[in-house]
């Protein structure tokens, strides 16, 4: 838990300082947080799979065919992504992390039922959700400085999740943790792009 103070500083600064005057600070903060999150995404995914039993816990497990309709995929053609305006790119990523934060809460609840004794997994899911929310905040700061209007948060989940079977919940969790990694990778690149553009 050594990262907690560092994390708190990353999360709290945008809120405590209000609207930053320069663009560099919020971009750097968002970039640094995304970079930090990136280092932990694979650990989260592996920890998650480890608790779900075979075949999820089998070495090299991968099921790209599993998707969630409620969660936008991070994969996007490069040129399409490159051609997006800064505001649109930020809106997409922030929207994805908004959905991810909701899904991570759902996955956390699912795992509290399926693996109530797995405190390591539950704490990692909670941390990931916190980071996702923090990144949303940082990106909102960037958007504010750029003059991009921040769209309101939408309910990504809807009423559907409650009837899911255990297997569906396991798969859902897998997709969420996987997509969380992908979106984090994309957020790092988003921020890197902005950094290159706005921060000397």
């Amino acid at each position: 838990l050594f990262f907690v103070p560092c994390l708190l500083s990353l999360l709290l600064e945008p809120f405590t300082l209000g609207v930053p005057l320069s663009l560099a600070d919020p971009i750097n903060q968002a970039y640094n947080l995304a970079l930090y999150m990136q280092k932990n995404t694979s650990v989260l995914l592996q920890t998650y799979l480890q608790y779900q039993g075979s075949p999820f816990s089998d070495t090299g497990f991968s099921a790209p065919e599993l998707q969630l309709s409620s969660l936008p995929p991070a994969a996007v053609p490069f040129m399409l992504w490159r051609g997006l305006g800064d505001g649109e790119r930020l809106i997409q990523t922030r929207g994805a992390f908004s959905a991810l934060a909701q899904h991570l809460q759902l996955v956390n609840d699912d795992q509290a039922d399926l693996n109530p004794g797995s405190s390591v997994l539950l704490s990692q899911l909670a941390a990931a959700r916190l980071w996702a929310q923090g990144l949303m905040g940082n990106m909102a700061s960037v958007m504010t400085v750029l003059g991009v209007s921040i769209p309101p948060e939408v309910d990504a989940l809807g009423p559907a999740p409650f009837g899911a079977s255990a297997f569906e919940r396991k798969c859902r969790g897998y997709v969420v943790t996987r997509e969380y990694g992908h979106w984090t990778d994309r957020a790092v690149r988003d921020m890197a792009l902005l950094k290159a553009k706005y921060v000397a």
Binding site: Y51, G53, S54, D58, N115, P116, G117, A166, F167, K170
Partner: protein
């Protein structure tokens, strides 16, 4: 009719109830037609095969076969002799109410265009079949979660007579191929009214996986109906299909919880081909259920992990799955125990037993139910204990002491329970006492307070108080206190020691002991001071001048002082006066009182110790001692760490015994420490940390009579003796040619380090600087040692030394602890000039004397000599040559040359009696191991018995020729003198040879007594020196020939010249002072040899 009955019997008793009804109908029609035709003889083309059945025993339904020629005609059916009206119909069947048991004639009139024809049938109940109506209306439902089919139907019992037995047959089919899943048979009884029946069945395949089809038929066994009874037709098939599959796929069953060991089938409903199926880590081959569904069957499922076991079907584009949770029903709760800590709430704890394998929502739930009150408590997961010990808290009910608890455990697979009946007042395990406080009462008693939460107003508490003190160890006290509602308790603690740091802690239980609480925290408390319990241990010593006495005392121990000693008060008094010294602070433990020892008055000295609480009882001692003149100084050696004293019991000693001691080398007053022992003791071990090994202490034993001490014994002692640390300082006081006088001084007591036991004095002959005496090798024959055990002796004269010879001297002192270092010295004895002069003068005088006497004799006997040796006319007959041996020239070799006769050996025995060599006084005796043997030999032969064997006439010639030849030939004259008695008999020849080589000295002509001690210590070096003087020219011949020649040679080859006169006679010079001790001076012959001894061996 016989055939009819046969068929009826078949239908009634036949085991195959599923026999087709058409078969019966066909058979009965044949029979019936035969009968009718035979009765009426009608031709073909009219109605035939009349067949009647009944569905409800009330109406008969008859039908017949009609030829095509009469189609489209009308039939009139009449029952002959019956009140039933005729029936006109265009159909080929009719219904009539059930007729009575008799035969009835049925007339069927066929009316058609070509004409009428009438045919008659005889109809009886026996010809009617009972075929129940097909069950059309039944209810089929399903529970998909359990894969169970529920069938519900009405038996229509109101139609049939009651008490009829009904057999129901149900068939379930599934899969695409309509495989029969099960065939079930039920027996019921009709009760005269409609009844609803139920049947359920659980499929081994989830109902969602494939449609299940159900059909049913039945058979009514009405005993009172004589017609045929047949199975109903099968009901129409009903099917159960799963709900519409979401998203075009699904795997069943979903999230099933099953017991370990179950057998299960999982199916996947999907529109695309399934490539593989996997259960957990294992792959399974699947079976196809129908077009869209495949399944795998798992036998004996093992326990699942927390998130369940995954069942996964893989297609080309996706994977589908479900989860199954396999575990155990809850075990019976073990070790259920209910107790209270505060009589307010009851804590029931238990062990869950075998793990169920379920977690979270599938985990075990517990309900604690109390039967008397009807209240229960549900186990919340938040209270779950990590180590499988669970507990529930039940609030106590006022006034209720007996509780009957039932703990029920349940999970999705089942339930179990455990019960316990407790009297809660006997199950009290209180909380840990806290807030321990101590409060003074006096120096030996306190109040101890503590807090114990709980309402114990109705019971007594048993509390245990642990008391720890540094010096008195641990003590446990159990007390019973009345339970309180207020939680504050206190007890009175007495029998404590004053001014002592105590550590208290408390634990409690109920009086009806169940369990102790945990120990409270420790409370440290110092009790207040009390007056010292006894006076100090005191002793007094007079100063050497007798002008004052010093009173000593020892500090009181902690448990005697009962506080911090502040000061001491010393007072003394006699009959006349009392005096007080000023208060003495605690740091000082002695005081000097000016008294005169010569004053007759005896004072009593008193010492009192004071602390803040008061003064100790006084310790008293008298200033004067009871005199004791009979004191001897004794010696004692301790046992390492102390010294053990013994004394005889003395009833007069009424007070005690005191042993005081001091280092003997310290100045007065002699007092290092003292110890007191009871009056009835007879011994004591005095141990003292500062006792040092090798240090001499003075001990004084005092006895006490009537409060007055008397010195009983004075003892010098060591706890352990050590060897002296220094060598005794000695000097050579005097030296002479044959003796040395040494003198030494006492070793100081500090250096002695033990009681002196004696001295060891070593000396050896040798050149300066070559001494090996320091090594003190044992067994060295040339180092002589003298043990001086008389410790008062301070001088030693060493005698029998050689003149002008260097000697190494070494002196060591030894104690009980060992031998100390030695001091060495080198001394040279003086030259013996007087002896040399005498040794020259006397032989000359003797030679002159012998010459004169010989001349006189020869002159007087000249005639006889002439006649004998030089006659004018030699007469051999008168020759006297053979008698020469009797002449005074006996021993002369020149005379023997004339002997002509062959040797006739003769033996002459010479018996000589003489005294044993005088023994040397012990103090001056020189001990050498070599000397012992011969001395013993000498003692063994007190009487010298000498045999002389000689051959006078011819021996001279033989020896002259012999040179170095052995002297042991048969013609040899053997002379054995006294010395030969000492030589080892086993080596006569060797000794003779040695004699030839080195022993060519002067040989006395008389028998000489010899001191073997001297003989044996001659060295080879000495031998060479002694061989230097040769008064005769022909030494070899002289030695060999002379019958007087001593032939004794020491067995030691190094001392080759042992038989020489030098060695024989040197002894006489070494001990000159006492003539009576001189060896055989009366023989007269010895003195000559002395003169030739210039370097006598000692």
């Amino acid at each position: 009719m016989e055939a009819y009955f046969y068929s009826r019997l078949l239908s009634k008793t036949g085991g195959n109830k599923r026999m087709s009804s058409s078969k019966f109908q066909w058979l009965s029609s044949i029979i019936f037609l035969y009968l009718v035709n035979q009765a009426h003889g009608q031709s073909r083309g009219v109605p035939h095969d009349l067949n009647c059945i009944t569905h409800n025993l009330k109406v008969w339904d008859c039908s017949w076969e009609a030829l095509p020629t009469i189609n489209h005609g009308t039939y009139e059916i009449c029952v002959i002799n019956s009140s039933y009206p005729c029936i006109r119909t265009e159909k080929t069947h009719f219904e009539i109410p059930a007729l009575t048991f008799a035969d009835h004639e049925i007339k069927i009139n066929s009316i058609h265009v070509s004409g009428n024809s009438v045919i008659k049938f005889i109809l009886n109940e026996r010809n009617v079949s009972l075929v129940p109506a097909t069950l059309q209306d039944f209810n089929l439902t399903a529970d998909f979660s359990t894969s169970t089919l529920y069938l519900k139907w009405n038996d229509n019992g109101s139609v049939f007579p009651s008490h009829s037995s009904v057999i129901w047959e149900i068939i379930v089919q599934y899969k695409e191929k309509m495989e029969v899943a099960t065939v079930a048979t039920l027996n019921t009884t009709l009760i005269g009214k409609d009844s609803v029946h139920h049947w359920n069945w659980t499929s081994d395949i989830p109902l969602e996986c494939t449609p299940h089809y159900v059909k049913i038929r039945y058979y009514i066994d009405e005993l009172h109906f004589f017609g045929q009874k047949e199975w109903s037709e099968w009901s129409p098939l009903r099917n159960i299909s799963g709900p519409p599959v979401k998203e075009n796929y699904e795997v069943f069953p979903r999230d099933k919880v099953v017991p370990v060991g179950s057998n299960m089938t999982f199916c996947c409903v999907v529109g695309e081909p399934v490539l593989s199926a996997q259960f957990g880590k294992e792959s399974y081959s699947f079976i196809r259920l129908d077009r869209r569904s495949v399944a795998i069957k798992i036998n004996n499922i093992t326990v699942s992990p927390s998130s369940g076991t995954n069942v996964v079907f893989t297609t080309k584009s996706n994977l589908y799955g479900t989860v199954v949770f396999a575990g155990y029903p809850p075990d019976i709760p073990r070790k259920l125990n209910c107790e209270t800590r505060d009589l307010k709430e009851i804590t029931c704890s238990w062990n869950a037993g075998r793990p169920t394998g379920f977690f979270g929502p599938r985990g075990t739930n517990y309900i604690l139910y109390e039967r008397f009150s009807g209240r229960n408590v549900t186990y919340g997961r938040a209270e779950e204990h990590m180590n499988a010990i669970h507990q529930l808290i039940f609030q106590m009910i006022t006034g209720q002491e007996i509780y009957n608890f039932t703990l029920e455990a349940n999970n999705p697979l089942g339930r179990s329970e455990a019960v316990i009946l407790v009297n809660i007042t006997q199950r009290v395990c209180p909380h840990t006492p806290s807030k321990l406080i101590a409060k003074d009462i006096n120096s030996t008693a306190i109040f101890l307070y503590w807090h114990l939460s709980g309402n114990f107003a109705n019971i007594n508490l048993l509390c245990e108080i642990e008391i720890n003190a540094t010096y008195s160890g641990q003590e446990l006290r159990n007390i019973t206190v009345r339970g309180l509602e207020t939680s504050s308790y206190h007890v009175y603690m007495d029998k404590l020691m004053p001014y002592t740091m105590y550590t208290f802690r408390v634990r409690c239980s109920s009086e009806n002991f169940w369990k102790w609480s945990k120990w409270s925290n420790e409370k440290h408390y110092l009790t207040t001071e009390g007056i010292p319990s006894k006076g100090p241990d005191i002793w007094r010593e007079w100063r050497a001048d007798g002008k004052s006495v010093i009173i000593y005392w020892k500090p009181l121990s902690l448990n005697e002082a009962n506080g911090k000693i502040l000061s001491y008060n010393v007072s003394y008094w006699s009959e006349e006066k009392t005096r007080y010294l000023s208060e003495i602070p605690d740091s000082q433990h002695k005081a000097e009182i000016k008294l005169d020892k010569n004053d007759d008055s005896d004072y009593i000295i008193s010492v009192v110790a004071k602390n803040s609480a008061g003064s100790s009882p006084p310790s008293k001692i008298t200033s004067m001692e009871i005199p004791n003149e009979d004191i001897k100084v004794e010696q004692i050696v301790g046992i390492g760490n102390g010294i053990l004293f013994h004394w005889n019991y003395d009833p007069n000693m009424t007070c005690d015994y005191v042993i005081k001691w001091c280092n003997s080398t310290r100045s007065e007053p002699c007092l290092t420490d003292w110890k007191k022992f009871p009056a009835n003791s007879t011994g004591a071990l005095v141990e003292y940390d500062n006792f040092r090994s090798g240090t001499r202490y003075n001990f004084f034993l005092y006895g006490c009579k009537n409060q007055k001490y008397q010195l009983l014994r004075s003892i010098l002692g060591y706890t352990e003796e050590l060897a002296p640390s220094v060598a005794p300082n000695f000097t050579v006081e005097d030296t002479s040619s044959d003796s040395i006088l040494v003198k030494w001084e006492d070793i100081p007591v500090e250096d002695l380090r033990g009681f002196l036991r004696g001295y060891l004095f070593y000396f050896e002959k040798g050149e300066k600087g070559t001494s090996k005496i320091q090594g003190l090798e044992s067994g060295r024959s040339d180092v002589k040692v003298k043990n001086i055990t008389d410790i008062t002796q301070k001088t030693l004269r060493i005698v029998d030394l050689q003149g002008k010879t260097g000697y190494h001297l070494l002196l060591q002192a030894y104690t009980g602890g060992g031998i100390g270092p030695g001091k060495s010295m080198y001394v040279v004895t003086k030259e013996n000039s007087e002896g040399l002069i005498i040794a020259i003068l006397i032989p000359v005088a003797v030679a002159i004397f012998v010459g004169v006497v010989t001349s006189i004799l020869c002159y007087r006997k000249r005639e006889w000599i002439k006649e004998t040796f030089y006659p004018d006319i030699p007469n051999p007959e008168n020759s006297k040559a053979l008698q020469f041996h009797k002449s005074i020239c006996e021993g002369s070799s020149t005379l023997k040359t004339l002997e002509m006769n062959p040797c006739t050996p003769n033996n002459v025995e010479v018996v000589e009696t003489r005294s044993v060599a005088p023994k040397i006084e012990e103090d001056t005796e020189i001990k050498s191991p070599v000397t012992d043997g011969p001395e013993e030999g000498s003692d063994a032969e007190p009487e010298n018995h000498v045999v002389v064997s000689y051959c006078p006439p011819i021996i001279e010639e033989e020896i002259a020729n012999a040179g170095g030849e052995e002297a042991g030939s048969s013609s040899q004259v053997i002379y054995i003198d006294i010395q030969s008695m000492y030589q080892p008999q086993a080596k006569p020849e060797e000794e003779l040879e040695n004699h030839l080589v080195g022993g060519a000295g002067y040989k006395p002509q008389m028998h000489l007594p010899v001191t073997s001690t001297i003989e044996n210590i001659i060295t080879a070096d000495d031998l060479e020196k002694t061989a230097g003087y040769r008064p005769q020219t022909n030494v070899n011949a002289w030695n060999l020939d002379s019958p007087d020649s001593p032939r004794s040679i020491d067995s030691n080859s190094e001392i080759a010249s042992f038989g020489s006169p030098c060695s024989i006679n040197s002894r006489q010079f070494l001990i000159p002072p006492k003539d009576e001790e001189s060896p055989k001076s009366s023989n007269g012959g010895w003195s000559f040899t002395n003169f030739f001894q210039n370097k006598p061996n000692d």
